[in-house]
Amino acid sequence: MTLAFDLLLALSLLWTAWRTLATPRLDRALVLFIVFGLLMSLAWARLAAPDIGLAEAAIGAGLTGALLLDAYGVLRRRVRP
């Protein structure tokens, strides 16, 4: 049962990662990337590593996501002022 959950989680990680790189729209890629970070947090919880889970959610998904979204917003505004 837990193995099934782990496999499902691992597959969703890989699928999200693949879509992040392959999806044609950049905004969607960024959202997928943040989802990927949250899934990573779950994976860390499964690996009995709550410290990393916390850090991943706060720094990996949170801060990196905010940095990326901010950059995206600026770049888009510059393209059509």
């Binding site: 193995l3 782990d6 691992a10 990680l13 990662a17 790189l21 009995a48 990326l68 770049l75 510059r78």
Partner: protein, 100 residues
């Protein structure tokens, strides 16, 4: 198969996907995403493989915490460079690269 092993294998795939992304993708924001995927893959291998018997090991866990901070530092610097390049040239790719 243990939890550790499942995520170590997933990490191996993620790492390869990330490297392929950095090599193949011309769009710089997308390349930064690929670099982060690569890093996450290496972190999963580090902890997952060490915990393949499903007993928590604090040493690789602490190493990954260090690695995550280094990765966000690198990401912020990369974004600063990309934004500067875009401000100067209006481009989001490097000259001479294969494009998407």
């Amino acid at each position: 198969m243990s939890t550790g092993f499942v995520f170590a294998l997933a990490g191996a795939v993620l790492f390869s996907l990330g490297v392929a992304g950095v090599v193949l993708i011309g769009h710089l924001l997308r390349r930064i995403l690929a670099f982060n995927l690569m890093g996450s893959g290496a972190f999963l291998v580090l902890v997952g493989l060490a915990q393949r018997q499903d007993v928590a090991d604090p040493v690789p866990q602490a190493m990954v915490l260090t690695g995550i901070v280094v990765a966000v530092a690198a990401t912020a610097l990369a974004l600063a460079l990309v934004r500067k390049l875009h401000a100067l040239t209006g481009q989001l790719g490097l000259p001479g690269d294969v494009d998407e």
